[in-house]
Amino acid sequence: MIPPRQFLQTATDARNSVRELIQTMFAAELLSPSRCLWIISPWLRDVPVLDNTTGSFLALCPEFPITEVRLSLVLQELLTRGTQIVIATRPDFGNRQVLDGLRTAGFEDGVIFRARIGWRHSRASTRGGINHQLFSSIDEPYI
């Protein structure tokens, strides 16, 4: 069991720890894809998740562009490697961006989208944002 990690991020922090953590976790997924991957977040956009601007993640996928690699591209790669992806988010229009991107690229199969689940804001962060439960895997509960 991986211990939980808590973030207290401020605008002046030198490091973007959340982004670094997401990068590490998606790199781990690409190295050893889970059978099923859950992404649970009230806010979901096609954000950059791997900093491949120096080509330093080409060993995970030689087809990645030498730029920041966005969530939808990493999910596409995981889908081609047989991972089933479950996305649970709020039913906002913007939250469909990632799923629409996967559909446009012909990767609809293998994605389960749940946009009507209840979301409790019981664990708001100290700055009033939302404490995202980033993702978890059925094989190995990461968080």
Partner: protein, 606 residues
């Protein structure tokens, strides 16, 4: 007026020279502190119109080498030097052009004695021996006037293939076999290799000139050259390099190769840095004469050299200015891009992954990947095939074999080709093992075609490949087996390394690149900790706190161990004596069958 019977393969190449005249010393870019490139790259200077420092490029040809054939005769090679020529004036002359342009000047130092550095990696030495043999044949003065550049390439290929094939067949050393081949008046053995490996036919452009019976014109030319004692002596002299260790005599050639490889990596990194600019608009000049501005004329430091990346458009197309802007945003990024350019290419990864897959499916275990692999052969409908392919991709990914389009195409064409069987898998796995052993024994990279030629003598292949029912007989059977086997085996070693990193400059002779030569000369980016160590986390934490960077290394048979390690690194803080901090993942590499995870601790660097 050109005679009608001139062979279409007749050719001529100009002898180009380049002179670069900078306006003044270039604008010096900052180099990143702590970079492993600092001992090699001394400075990078920008010469551009925008900052008032354009360069003048003078490119001129002083002569040419022509190889001309008429009718069915052998080609005659002639060197031409341009002279003024009026009234018997033989003052040397040149033709060419002068252009103002922009350029990037990279001053670097060779990292010590390269022949000693090269010895550190046997993979590198195996490839270098073969490459040096080809180089010696290409530049042999004995062959001047006998063989043109193309014929020299074929001569080297035919001779090396013959010697290697004989050493494999007779289980002798290259030195023993070469003495026999060189001393043989008959060229039957070479002819056999030429016929099978080069597979020339009379469909060539010069077929109208070939005699009605007898070998194709190319083969006849090659055999005619080989029948000359001087040509055979040149090949014999060059062959010694195939079994000797890199020595001081190799140094200038190794430096040439190092410089070309570094230049190709710099060009690729510059192209990554400026993706909007056509990479073809930048030329790598390795041999240019630099006319230093008088203000900066200093004696060059020993072991130092220069590479110029110059814009091919007159006046410059903005590449150098774009490069300067992007470089200054993050100098460290440029050097990481150089590292990426030196990483294994897609072809190398596919070659290594096919080998690993074959080892897994012939290991005798009934694991998920083996079941998925075999299921691909038993599908009968399109739907079954789609489902089997999906399952195979999943299982490949779980064993860290990347199911990229290139890999899947190669897999389908080689291991899963129609008619392939488990028995063929076992045969190929055994062939790969023997291939490895043979390379270790002979100390050279063995061309896939030569290995296929030797293995094609094994008649048991008829049953393995002959599942479709038809099996040819006699001499045709061996050629048939060779064709099938050379399609099932895949190229590897220096053959694919040189394909990945290339320089194209129409004004210079081409030099082969080898990324391993540069990598072997470089210090590893950071200290490496094996994941197999029981205290790997504590060890890597200590290195990160002390140095700011560290790498975790693991055999990449399975990615799950590294994935678990990454999760631990993400979740478990490191005690930096004043703070509890988390390491940052900066990249993952694959090299020589290992997965290497590069980490840094920014708090330790700052």
């Amino acid at each position: 007026m050109t005679p009608l019977n001139i062979q279409q393969s007749s050719n001529s190449f100009l002898h180009w020279h380049t002179e670069i005249v900078p306006t003044d010393t270039g604008y010096q870019l900052d180099l990143p502190d702590g970079s492993r490139w600092l001992p090699i790259v001394r400075n990078i200077g920008i010469h551009s119109h925008l900052i008032g420092l354009p360069i003048e490029i003078r490119r001129f040809a002083v002569g040419a080498t022509a190889s001309i054939g008429q009718g069915q005769g052998a080609q005659i090679v002639r060197d031409v030097e341009f002279v003024k020529g009026t009234d018997g004036d033989d003052t040397p002359a040149a033709i060419g052009f002068v252009a103002d342009s922009d350029g990037i000047e990279v001053n670097f130092t060779y990292p010590g004695r390269l022949f000693e550095i090269a010895r550190r990696d046997s993979r590198l030495v195996y490839g270098l021996r073969v490459a040096r043999f080809r180089h010696l044949v290409q530049h042999s003065t004995t062959l001047s006037g006998i063989a043109n550049d193309f014929q020299r390439q074929w001569l080297a290929q035919a001779y090396l293939s013959t010697v290697t094939a004989e050493a494999l067949r007779n289980k002798k050393t290259l030195e023993e076999v070469e003495a026999t081949v060189a001393g043989e008046p008959s060229i039957v053995r070479i002819r056999e290799v030429v016929d099978t490996i080069l597979q020339w036919s009379d469909d060539s452009d010069d077929s109208t000139q070939s005699p009605p019976s007898g070998p194709p014109v190319r083969v006849a030319e090659l055999l005619a050259i080989l029948s000359q004692n001087s040509a055979r002596d040149a090949l014999h002299q060059a062959s010694r390099t195939l079994w000797e260790d890199p020595s001081e005599q190799w140094e200038s050639w190794l430096r040439e190769r190092f410089k070309a490889s570094l230049g190709a990596a710099l060009l690729e990194a510059a192209s990554y840095l400026c993706p909007h600019i056509d990479p073809g608009s930048l030329t790598v000049d390795l041999e240019a004469l630099i006319t230093e501005p008088s203000s900066s004329a200093t004696k060059p430091a020993p072991d130092s050299d220069q590479i110029w990346l110059t814009e091919s458009s007159v006046g410059g197309a903005g590449f150098v200015e774009d490069f300067m802007r992007e470089y200054q945003n993050d100098p460290r990024r440029f050097f990481r891009l150089v590292d990426s350019a030196l990483a294994p290419s897609d072809l190398e990864t596919v070659s290594e992954d096919l080998r690993r897959l074959l080892a897994i499916v012939t290991s005798g275990t009934n694991d998920d990947l083996t079941i998925a692999f075999r299921a691909m052969r038993s599908t009968t409908t399109h739907n079954e095939n789609v489902l089997a392919l999906r399952r195979l991709r999943t299982e490949l990914a779980r064993r860290n074999i990347l199911p990229t389009p290139t890999f899947m195409v190669s897999l389908n064409a080689r291991l899963l080709r129609p008619g392939s069987t488990r028995e063929l898998d076992a045969f190929l796995a055994d062939a790969l093992r023997l291939w490895d052993e043979a390379e270790r024994r002979l100390g050279i990279d063995i061309d896939a075609r030569v290995f296929a030629l030797v293995k094609s003598e094994d008649a048991s292949l008829d049953q393995l490949f002959g599942q479709q029912g038809w099996i040819p007989t006699g001499e045709a059977a061996r050629t048939w087996r060779y064709s099938l086997l050379s399609g099932a085996l895949w190229p590897r070693g220096s053959q694919i390394r040189t394909e990945a990193l290339k320089i194209s400059n129409p004004f210079e002779r081409s030099v082969e690149c080898d990324r391993l030569l540069v990598l072997t000369a470089l210090e590893p980016p950071s200290r490496q900790i094996p994941l197999e160590s029981p205290d790997w986390f504590e060890e890597i934490s200590q290195v990160l706190v002390r140095n700011g960077t560290a790498s975790l290394v693991h055999s990449d048979d399975r990615g799950d161990a590294v994935a678990s390690a990454l999760l631990r690194i993400a979740a478990e803080p490191i005690d930096s004596e004043t703070l509890l901090v988390y390491a940052r993942l900066i990249g993952i590499r694959r090299e020589a069958g290992q997965l290497i995870v590069d980490l840094e601790l920014p708090e330790a660097i700052q």
